[in-house]
Amino acid sequence: MTSDIAAILAIDGIATGAVYALVAIGTVLIFTVTRVIFIPFGDIAAFTALTLAALDAKRFPGTGTLVLVLACLATLVEIISLLRTNEPRLVPRALLLYLALPCAIVGAAWIVTRMDPPLAVRLVLALMLITPIAPLLDRIVFRPIADGTVLLLLTVSVALHFALVGLGLLFFGPEGVRTEPLTSLSTEIAGILISGQTMLIVIAALVFSGLLYLFFDFTLVGKSLRATAVNRTGSRLMGIRPARAGTIAYLLGSLMAGVSGILIAPVNTVFYDSGFLIGLKAFVGAIVGGLTSYPGAAIGAVGVGILESFASFESSALKDVIVFSLLIPILIWRSLSSLHSEEEIEE
């Protein structure tokens, strides 16, 4: 391997890793706030790409129908739970939040698709269509079992992923898509050609993780999200609504996943089931950060990207074996380094 090839591989790895990083950060966010290891973020990313491609082709994306179906289900679940707790006065609010709002977004999308909108509008529209999915799924699937064990939540999350893959196939078909690059610029650094798209991916990853860091450390809402993550009962006693914290987390997480979907769509063909491996690899990255640290997750995800890039050069067939095998030493290291803090809690 020459240094040239190594540099190309490293850049390629960083770009792939940055995509994973966005998803990884979303995964950590959801895990800390709701204890759900949300495997379907990969699917959300893939769906964003497919949505954008449909919009580019002037077709009304299947995401719209998906959101409508989920909105109806969520409204139903919410109203039933309100009637059970004898709070019928909240029904109009539920209708507004769970039904009217998603419908409005889908309606807007439907109108706009008939008007041949510019790229920027299509991007925003794709993100707007995708962001309600995870919060709606949260309402339907996770909130009834919010007090379950991490394992139960994880198992449900895996089942949800399978359901989403099936829906993806139904709404988007089996073929893959690739969208127009967001930028055709490219620049040369030390003799290596770096495409504008790669730079865009890395910059987006940096910007979003930076914003998230500021949000958590310097705003009361951010802190309340962390508090919910640390102690649910305690945060309720402070007047923090865990359900609302969860919704905010899901919205933010979907946004991250959506952005990563938009970024990978031009550099890679995205299928209805591409999400699984993206999600899993992001998840490996998240584990490097112990599922709690955002910078850790981002660094881990980029590490996975670079590892994958070099591994596929060495042995393309065994690259996934290499990536997932390496998780074990990482886990052992994480486990050993977190042992210490557990002891401290015991006094």
Partner: protein, 589 residues
């Protein structure tokens, strides 16, 4: 319901199973074969996940290793499937042992994640190893045969598969009802609890992990020779998750649940395939997986515990007989009264920059009750954890009964004769009082894996049961030995912990705040119990806040403050010590 009823029900079930091929259409038998093969993996998971608390997403990889091993032996090298079985089992168990050694010390969900990791890695490997047919798989695997009688058709393999499933269930239930089984069931209580009973948590975890892998291997062997063709698909991560679903649907922790779960998942998939096209024509293929996942999610939302425990609640309780007198378990040679039993010499323990225990020394003599008191954060609990091996001291030496235990593992310290209770009660709430106390006898009993599995342990079990009952009676909880421990009020739970500690026949009893949360009357009774134990020459070390309780009970007191020993003496001297007054008592006592 008595044992006889259970045995009768099992007989009827066996008969029904045996009659099935003669009564049911062939495809139902085919489905039942799949159910049987999947059951084996699900039973293993019920043990591993439900009983041991180790969630594994990777069992499909073990099934795959075994299936490929036997396919390689029989289809590619022309050997008998029985040679394949041998290789499948040894290879799978060896790989499981290696993986277990590497990962079973991981904490919490890191352990589950590691199963995802190796599950995926091994799954990807099958398609990429030269000589194993790559992604096309291995075809023409011969059927299993007994002499010249080959098990080709579904109905022929059926008896082998379900015979194995029945045998595995019998062995599994025997195992759970043995000392090893109780140790496995205690795993979910946490390492500290398990180790404090003289059980090596790691070894029990490894055992249960290898047993689950063994069952997966058995399943893989049957699968390969039943379907006679293998490819990487059925052993990938998705299938690993499906196995987990089966054991969860059936009821994690219930062996029978493994079978029921496998049946439900398989039948559900089959009927989704049958009935979905009637509802959604055209898109049924895509919707199958959606419908299946949705049903599964609904199931987990409404019946988290799984089917078997759910149904079990409506069945009459199993009636049990009070344990009969049996030969006593061997006892430990107790040290002579007044002899030096425990010597702590210059113990120091740091957490980062914080010195939690700083150069503490004291002695405990046989037959006395010694209290350690001090303000919160003075290092009492840390000191206790160092004594019992839950933590290591950074400096200093701890000598128990003439031998240094400074570097010993928790379980070895427990075996040496230190039994403890916990500040936050650590019981197995789902187990009966008797079983909880029987946990204490682990180190005094011997039965191994094979004897447990084949039910050759009855004599020792009877002795252990009787010993446990004796200890329950000794602490005053002897009237309802089969009640569930979790239903006891907190005070009695603390007493139950003492009974469990006594069942280990300890030389030193270490009690961490035994009177916290007790009513006054209960405290008086506890003090009475501890006095009577002292009269039986048991040595007791106690941490407690309640001064009235301590002052009236103990022989000597050690006072800790900010991690250091403040002073030491009899109760009267401590009560009048000015430093103690200032740092701790504040003139109250």
């Amino acid at each position: 319901m008595t044992r006889l009823h259970v045995q009768l029900a099992a007989m009827v079930a066996m008969l029904c199973l045996a009659a099935a091929p003669f009564l049911l259409p062939p495809f139902t038998i085919t489905l039942m074969n799949y159910i049987g093969v999947y059951s084996l993996v699900a039973i293993g998971l019920a043990l591993l996940t439900g009983v041991g608390g180790i969630v594994s997403f990777g069992q499909a990889a073990f099934v795959g290793i075994a299936a490929y091993a036997t396919a390689w032996v029989s289809a590619l090298n022309g050997q008998s499937p029985w040679v394949g079985l041998l290789l499948a089992l040894t290879l799978t168990c060896s790989i499981a042992t290696l993986l277990g050694l590497a990962t079973l010390r991981l904490q919490g969900h890191f352990l589950s994640l590691s199963t995802v990791a190796w599950g995926l890695a091994i799954g990807f490997l099958f398609g990429n190893v030269e000589g194993l047919g790559r992604f096309n798989g291995i075809a023409s695997i011969p059927p299993i045969s007994f002499g010249s009688y080959a098990l080709v058709s579904s109905a022929q393999v059926y008896f082998l598969i379900w015979g194995i499933v029945a045998a595995v269930l019998w062995i599994g239930y025997n195992l759970l009802d043995s000392r090893l089984g109780r140790a496995m069931r205690a795993l979910r209580g946490g390492n500290t609890l398990v180790e404090s009973l003289g059980i090596s948590a790691f070894r029990i975890k490894l055992l249960i992990f290898v047993i689950a892998a063994f069952l997966a291997a058995l399943s893989g062997w049957l699968y390969a020779h039943m379907s006679r063709f293998i490819s990487p698909g059925p052993f990938d991560a998705g299938m690993g998750i499906e196995y987990l679903m089966m054991s969860m649907v059936g009821g994690a922790g219930s062996l029978l649940g493994g079978v029921v779960g496998a049946a439900i998942v398989t039948l559900l998939k089959n009927s989704v395939q049958d009935y979905l096209p009637l509802i959604a024509k055209g898109a049924s293929g895509q919707l199958e997986i959606v419908a299946f996942s949705a049903l599964f999610i609904l199931f987990l939302q409404w019946a988290r515990q799984g089917i078997v425990p759910f149904v079990g609640r409506y069945l009459p309780k199993l009636r049990r007989d009070r344990p009969q007198p049996a030969p006593a378990l061997p006892r430990r040679a107790q040290p002579a009264p007044g002899e030096l039993l425990l010597k702590v010499d210059g113990a120091e323990r740091r957490f980062g920059g914080l010195v939690a225990v700083n150069n503490v020394s004291f002695d405990v003599r046989s037959g006395e009750i010694l209290a350690v008191i001090g303000p919160n954060g003075a290092g009492k609990s840390t000191m206790f954890n160092c004594l019992t091996g839950a933590l290591r001291v950074n400096k200093g030496d701890i000598v128990f009964a003439g031998r240094s235990i400074t570097r010993e593992a928790q379980s070895r310290i427990a075996k040496a004769g230190i039994a403890r209770t916990f500040q936050h009660v650590k019981l197995r709430p789902r187990m009966s009082l008797l079983e909880n106390v029987m946990l204490g006898t682990y180190a005094r009993t011997r039965t191994g894996l094979l004897a447990s599995a084949l039910r050759l342990n009855r004599r020792e079990e009877a002795s252990a049961q009787f010993e446990a009952l004796r200890q329950l009676e000794r602490v005053g909880l002897g009237d309802k030995p089969f009640d569930i421990a979790g239903n006891l009020p907190l005070g009695n739970q603390r007493i139950l912990e003492i009974a469990r500690a006594l069942a280990a026949d300890p030389a030193l009893l270490v009690l961490d705040e035994p009177a916290a949360g007790l009513r006054r009357q209960e405290k008086l009774r506890l003090a009475e119990l501890l006095r009577s134990l002292r009269n039986d020459h048991l040595t007791i070390l106690i941490v407690e806040h309640d001064m009235e309780f301590v002052m009236s009970l103990v022989d000597r007191i050690v006072v800790l403050d900010f991690g250091s020993k403040l002073c030491e003496g009899d109760p009267a001297a401590i009560r009048n010590d000015e430093r103690v007054q200032e740092a701790y008592l504040g003139g109250v006592a």
